[in-house]
Symmetry: C2
Subunit: 775 residues, 2 copies
């Protein structure tokens, strides 16, 4: 755990340079706009600890799979979002010596990510090994408006010397991925050109033997320089190297002079443009943004962020660190995925690092969709669903590779293009509950938005394919006289290859039921026959099979404790609680894998994940008994775990536990709780933090088309408010110790239930709180 | 399956060149002498399909582990036997053009491994692209007497041309391992020298970050040349390149001339000599063997082989292919491990290929020790046991890495130096039955040899450490009110991470019992207190714990079928037999891993492995019921499987099944049954083939110090005989359709039981057969 970040309601601030934590700071201060993103690297050379990261959304490389022992069915490659052309680089030379803060004495240093404005800035006074005192100021952003571009304002001031300063803004494609499986580079050069204060570099991902699309990305830059605030008349010397272009500008300066470089950059990808037009489009794009100029670009960008906060913000009164934590989470979620492009998704590290390959996991459906549903308008969540719809054929193919047939689909554990990338059998082949999360997201979306039309348009095909998978994946146990599901891994990855994981069995049956009800609904629609014909649906036989599984599925249960059992044999374990092994934690660092597996300790919600998703199927006693049985055995070593427990604890009135779990998730990265922030941020779990507040503390649900709230305030907070979009209307909901205040600024009323009382909200509605709710 | 090898009782013969199968032939025709070995590569350059392989026993490299997803507890490196300096190479140039059979037209070709003499020879007539007809004859061996050396006789005859022939015998260290994890080379040069008709090259394994010993190997060569049978007066031009030395000899020849090169080579390793003495020792060694000369070296070598066959041979009358198969197995076992060095062991591929790293598996204890016990004198098996004794400290350390303590030992799954090399959690951490095999080998050795002294000397320490492991590895199931063993992989690797694998549970309890009885025995010995003090043995508490586990261990059982269950939940599977999935076989190539895991299909004996080892613990009905239940579900996709089934089938009187299983193992490599002979031979399973005959068909056991035989003859054989060493006496046992004839050539009598009747055998004893036994 690290706590060097200055608390502030709107900013992430590093006061004084922390070179040892630089890779953490770079992660925390990452910028993005949904199309491109980058870590908070310095513009000038830095030879100390740093992980350079520039990413272009949707651009990836199929890196050859690395395994110890190949298993049949493994994918040949791991599709990873790759470090792309470095567009922020500016080399600074002072009298021929390159400026590198790692070799300087730092007199003063300040770095700030302003989350309200989406701007990263830095100022610093340094003394070079040659004794020159220089002042560096930089500011940059990835435009939320012109979302294929970014801009930098970078100043160097000579504090104690005369001489000459060379500024070399460059584009550099000689970059690497630190996590390349075989230490290979992924880019090759296609073309480059330079002209006055301009450089254009087109790179292409290297050829691959897997038939995966090669991407071309054209990165362009232009720059301008001011001296002491006035436009400088300068000469730009072009530099061209392999995968590198730059413009070199040498300027005579005297003590007190300040040079300010404005660098504009664009990243256009062949995912969005014809290859042959990339260079021209990049130049046009540069024309457009340089015409706007730095200040206009920046103010448009700030306005876009203001609008986002208007729809997203959570205010917490009385707890600065909680306030900073929640905004940090919202900020990164919003800059990772904007929902405008249905071919994109949310990588677990977003644009903040390389780990996990930057591709799509079940996190999207289970954690992110609820966030985007409530904060970003219907089409954003819808695009995330369509993303999976478009991958349906690949999911059917993927299931085929594992021996399934007749239109059964198994969605990949990790993917970029619909093909499986993950290669660890216990997860790749067995963590099949992901299929259920994808079905659940359809339900969730329709329940939240009321958009039942989605079923006939896209949803049903996915549901049928998933149900077909479950049908083939279960088998009849002659001994149990029930259907069983053997050899699975549940969400708790600290168990592998178990039989009858309760969560997976429950989810499978739910999928079958939901598919049957969806069929029932769609059958009344015009499109029904066309869909059935398309997927060659044998209505009578298939629905009969599914109903049989629904009726005769086996669920492990302990009649003595009256709890569901995570899997067969769970009670053969030595049952201990986490507080009995405190010196052994985190067990994933201190224990061997086999010891973890045979222990009772749980990585993340498993039975409880099911109770969280299907809360309304169970009575309070059942929820409570299972929570009380499993939570004390849970080590929460997945970032996705605490939020689920926090929400469940909230709904069970376990406020202390709820807050404890909230704290674990809210500042996970800011405080480097898991000692891995340097790899990048836990983007998808950030949605869970948001849910811990809105679904947890505020008890937000949607039931029968009505927005439901059962709010309380964690001890130590005075009040909190959040924005929530529901059925096209963004409301502000404020919870104080006295009342819940709902503001609907539109002219249309919304039904909202607070603590069981229903309101038609138009303008402001105030629900007084007393007793339990106020505590 | 391939059948291009000519059947022959004593030889492996390739008639006519089969370039497509060349890597298979190279495997089949590998030579070795326990100290060094090599594949049947050509001496001259060959640009076609070939896997060059030269190996020096005990010399390995810690290749950096390659994993997809690192698990806590994985080893950092995989210790692999590595391709060493190529000492057989002889470049042949005809009028400046290098001779390469791949580019020649082959008029005649014949390659033979003479197993009786341990000699590989080849003759061949080829026409070069330039039209020169040449006759090549070569012969070589790795001396069984001077076991750090080998010799080659290599002739080239000009059939239709005059000109000059250049012969360049060389030593080449620029070799690679095809299976290097990261495509790295493993050798660096230390020194080299050349003088007339001599070259010395010293290589060292590259430095490693794991603290693993670097090996130096000095390879030396001398050569001599005859022309038309007469000593040639020649000049040798030295060639020195990076990791390469050679002597180049250019000779004028006329049509009909024949040049014959004699090449002598030695391989000395720092495992056996001081580094600084390697070069000198190599020269001395060369002096010694060249003084002997080729013919003497060869005849000494042939005598050594004759002696081996005297103690090992199995003759089969009436089935040439079976005869060839069994001798092939015996030959390779004898040249892989001679038992003279307790630091060596038996790699699964011996000196015939790179796969599996060439290191020690549980195969040694479970399969090879019975073979060497019966064929090679007591000290050979004893050295194999001491090998593990010497690794005990590492096994305790290894267990410590996985969280075990207080002297518990977990022997590695794969090792070279006692450290674990394997990195697949389901095997590395969970296939713990290997510990039991190591304990069983101690029992087996003592039972066979009567050498109980071994217990106090070495055995007990190992047994106590293994028992301590089992004690810590089980846990009490409150639900079952029994001790259980969770999260294991049994010998059937088509199940992973199961609970209560019957075989492992049974073996663990047996280990505890045997350790208790060993303690009881050793307690009466002088050394007892010293051993107990050394291992800090708490006699009262520990034996009490062990007894409790013995008394209360859980064994999965099906009361309906009256069979042991392979593991918990086995009956939840869909039970099918192998004949129902014939088009899906081999399932390890046609099914995804998860499908294999959740199927009922068994890779290799598991419950039956236990019944095989502990046959006497069970009645015939139990053996039969379990055999009849499991064998039909067994796909035998491990080379170690058929032999166990063959032996069990023999003892159950299932003669057809026994023979079917025997055939699968006996010519596994000769006929390339599993399509993988090119990777090298299945050395350890060859011991199983031998056992299928001796323990299977001949029903050989040792009970209460008496050699027991219950022989029968497989249909299609007329008779068979084998040699067996027992308590210091090598007997010949012949089984004909009329009688069992036992010949004891010594002056000391041996107790032998044949079909229940006991004989004191001295000279020849004849037991007439009738009825069941004759069939």
């Amino acid at each position: 755990m690290k706590q060097y970040i200055t608390p502030n309601p709107w900013s992430v601030i590093e006061e004084g340079f922390h070179p040892e934590e630089n890779e953490i700071t770079e992660s925390l201060m990452s910028l993005g706009n949904g199309r491109m993103g980058q870590r908070g690297n310095f513009e000038e050379k830095y030879s100390g600890k740093t992980l350079l990261g520039n990413y272009v959304a949707g651009v990836y490389f199929p890196d050859k799979t690395r395994v110890g022992w190949w298993k049949n069915g493994y994918p040949d490659y791991f599709a990873k979002v790759i470090n792309a052309c470095n567009w922020i680089g500016i080399d600074v030379e002072i009298d021929g010596q390159i400026l590198d803060l790692h070799t300087c004495q730092i007199e003063e240093f300040y770095r700030e990510l302003d989350m309200k404005r989406g701007v990263l800035s830095r100022h610093c006074t340094a003394i070079t090994p040659q004794g020159q005192r220089v002042r560096i100021e930089s500011e940059r952003f990835c435009s939320m408006v012109d979302d294929e571009s970014g801009a930098i304002k970078y100043s160097v001031k000579a504090l104690n010397f005369d001489g000459h300063i060379t500024l070399t803004p460059y584009l550099d494609g000689t970059i690497r991925n630190r996590d390349a499986n075989y230490d290979e580079t992924f880019w090759q050069e296609i073309s480059k050109e330079t002209s006055f204060a301009e450089g254009i570099l087109t790179l292409e991902t290297k050829p691959n033997p897997y038939g995966v699309e090669q991407f071309e990305v054209t990165t362009g830059m232009r720059f301008d320089i001011k001296k002491n605030g006035k436009k400088l008349d300068f000469q730009s010397h072009p530099v061209k190297n392999e995968k590198y272009v730059a413009g070199k500008v040498v300027t005579e300066i005297s003590e007190g002079d300040e040079l300010t470089l404005f660098k504009y950059a664009v990243n256009l990808s062949s995912a969005n443009y014809k290859r042959e037009e990339l260079t021209e489009k990049a130049k046009n794009y540069l024309d457009r943004i340089t015409k706007k100029g730095y200040s206009s670009l920046l103010s448009e960008h700030e306005l876009a962020w203001a609008d986002k906060w208007e729809r997203n913000d959570i205010e917490i009164v009385g707890d600065m660190e909680a306030q900073q934590g929640i905004r940090f989470n919202i900020f990164h979620l919003q800059q990772t995925y904007t929902g405008e492009d249905e071919s994109l998704n949310i990588g677990p590290k977003g644009f903040t690092g390389e780990k996990y390959g930057g591709v799509t996991y079940w996190d999207t459906e289970a954690y992110c969709i609820p966030f985007y549903l409530a904060t970003s308008g219907k089409h954003v969540a819808r695009n995330l669903l369509i993303y999976r719809y478009k991958h349906l054929a690949k999911a059917i193919e993927n299931a085929g590779k594992l021996g399934f047939s007749q239109g059964a689909a198994l969605y990949p554990m990790v993917t970029m293009n619909g093909e499986e990338s993950h290669n660890e059998w216990e997860i790749t082949f067995e963590e099949i509950h992901r299929n259920g999360a994808i079905a659940f997201a359809i339900y969730d979306y329709i329940n939240y938005t009321g958009d039942k039309v989605y079923l006939a348009e896209y949803g049903l095909e996915v549901l049928i394919a998933i149900s077909r998978f479950w049908k083939q994946r279960v088998n009849w146990s002659a001994q149990k006289e029930k259907f069983v599901m053997l050899g699975v891994t549940g969400p708790n990855e600290y168990e592998n290859n178990v039989n009858n994981n309760w969560y997976t069995n429950y989810l499978a049956v739910w999928c079958l039921k939901y598919t049957l009800s969806a069929i029932e609904y769609v059958r009344s629609q015009e499109k029904a026959d066309a869909i059935f014909a398309k997927v060659e649906f044998d209505q009578e036989a298939e629905t009969k099979d599914w109903q049989e599984i629904i009726d005769k599925m086996y669920f492990p249960y302990d009649p003595e404790r009256e709890v569901f059992l995570q899997q067969d044999g769970f009670l053969d374990k030595e049952l201990k609680t986490v507080d009995q092994i405190s010196e052994h934690r985190p067990i994933n660092q201190k224990w061997s894998w086999d010891r973890i597996l045979r222990s009772c300790f749980i990585k993340q919600a498993d039975v409880l994940q099911g109770l969280y998703l299907f809360e309304d199927h169970f009575d309070q006693g059942t929820l409570r008994r299972n929570f009380d049985f499993y939570e004390p055995m849970t080590v929460h070593e997945s970032s996705l775990s605490p939020c689920v427990h926090s929400i469940l604890a909230s709904s069970l009135g376990k406020k202390e536990k709820a807050y404890e779990m909230y704290v674990r998730t809210a500042r996970l990265d800011l405080d480097d709780y898991n000692n891995d922030t340097e790899d990048g941020l836990h983007i998808t779990s950030m949605a869970g933090t948001w849910m811990s507040v809105v679904k947890g503390f505020a008890g937000q649900r949607v039931r029968d088309g009505v927005l439901v709230l059962n709010p309380y305030i964690p001890e130590g907070w005075d009040a909190y408010s959040f924005r929530i979009g529901f059925r096209g209307i963004t409301m502000r909901i404020e919870v104080t110790r006295q009342a819940v205040i709902i503001e609907n600024p539109t002219t249309e009323s919304v039904e909202v239930q607070v603590w069981g009382k229903q309101y038609s909200v138009l303008g402001e509605v105030r629900h007084e709180l007393k007793g339990a709710a106020a505590e």
